[in-house]
């Protein structure tokens, strides 16, 4: 169990966020009501997605500086897991939006920005599929990945803050200011974020290992 501690930590942290997320009292706000508890489940999806995409960027840069195929595998698999988490984030966000903002999809800058960046990463996967030669594929994908990451930061983190948005933290509102989240909420929210990042990393880890075995059998 020595090297599995971080997987167990992830499970424990998310379990804690489920118990705490349902039971610990939250600020009573109009419109949001109890849905403020979605903060513990919807937002960690995005944090985990962005963490995995950053991990992917790191491996793409590593690949370009040494052309070791293992870095390419890591970059590719973490983008795939990140996209799954992003889909969960979109779906949960749509349900949340329907019952608080009144529509499954609004023309909110953050929503459209997120959709664009997810399409950018979908293009990353399609681009990979379209190149036969393994080394060429890895090189082109790594360069594209850097571009995609910058677009993602631009569309999710920067542009929404320059415009009016329904999301907290945009149009001048601090997302993590005292108006939106009190200190008890932080005690559940941050462990949830760390827990989901670890779960995402774990799934990526399993996928990378499967891919490696697959490669060994393919080239054996």
């Amino acid at each position: 169990m020595g090297k599995n501690w971080w997987k167990i930590l992830g499970v424990v942290l998310v379990s804690y966020s489920i118990v705490g997320g349902f039971l610990i009292p939250v600020p009573e706000l109009p419109i949001l009501n109890e849905t403020i508890r979605n903060t513990y489940f919807h937002i960690p999806m995005w944090f985990a997605m962005m963490a995995l995409l950053t991990y992917s960027l790191f491996h793409s840069i590593k690949y370009l500086s040494g052309f070791e195929i293992n870095h390419d595998t890591n970059a590719d698999q973490s983008v795939q897991v990140a996209l799954v988490l992003g889909v969960f984030g979109l779906l949960t966000g749509m349900v949340w939006a329907q019952y608080t903002w009144g529509s499954f999809w609004t023309n909110d800058v953050k929503l459209n920005g997120t959709a664009i960046s997810m399409l950018t990463y979908l293009a990353y996967i399609i681009l990979r599929e379209s190149i036969e030669d393994e080394n060429r594929k890895a090189k082109v994908a790594a360069v594209y990945n850097i571009f995609a990451w910058v677009m993602m930061i631009l569309f999710i983190m920067i542009i929404p803050r320059l415009n009016d948005s329904l999301h907290p933290g945009n149009g001048g509102n601090p997302a993590f200011g005292s108006y939106d989240m009190d200190n008890t909420m932080r005690l559940v929210f941050y462990p949830a974020v760390i827990g989901w990042i670890l779960i995402g990393a774990w799934i990526t880890n399993i996928k990378v290992r499967i891919k490696n075995i697959d490669d060994i059998q393919k080239y054996a």
Binding site: V11, S15, I18, N212, Q217
Partner: protein
């Protein structure tokens, strides 16, 4: 006579049961309090921990495959 006694017995039982529920006898009511939200928490926990155990078993299988296919 028999009918009468069974009637009284039933009546007594109903009365006792009524009395019990009306008095609010102390029971292990943890899972029934606060609108039974604890039940939902347990259900979600079962699903999540179940998925985690499943992930662990996949992890183990990959481990075995790695040993079969050394680099």
């Amino acid at each position: 006579m028999l009918r009468n006694s069974s009637f009284f017995l039933t009546a007594a039982l109903v009365l006792i049961m009524n009395g019990l529920s009306a008095q609010g006898v102390d029971m292990a009511a943890g899972m029934r309090s606060e609108g039974k939200i604890y039940v939902v928490v347990i259900v979600v926990l079962i699903i999540f921990i179940g998925l985690a155990i499943y992930l662990f078993s996949i992890d183990k299988k990959v481990n075995k495959l790695e040993k079969k296919n050394p680099k």
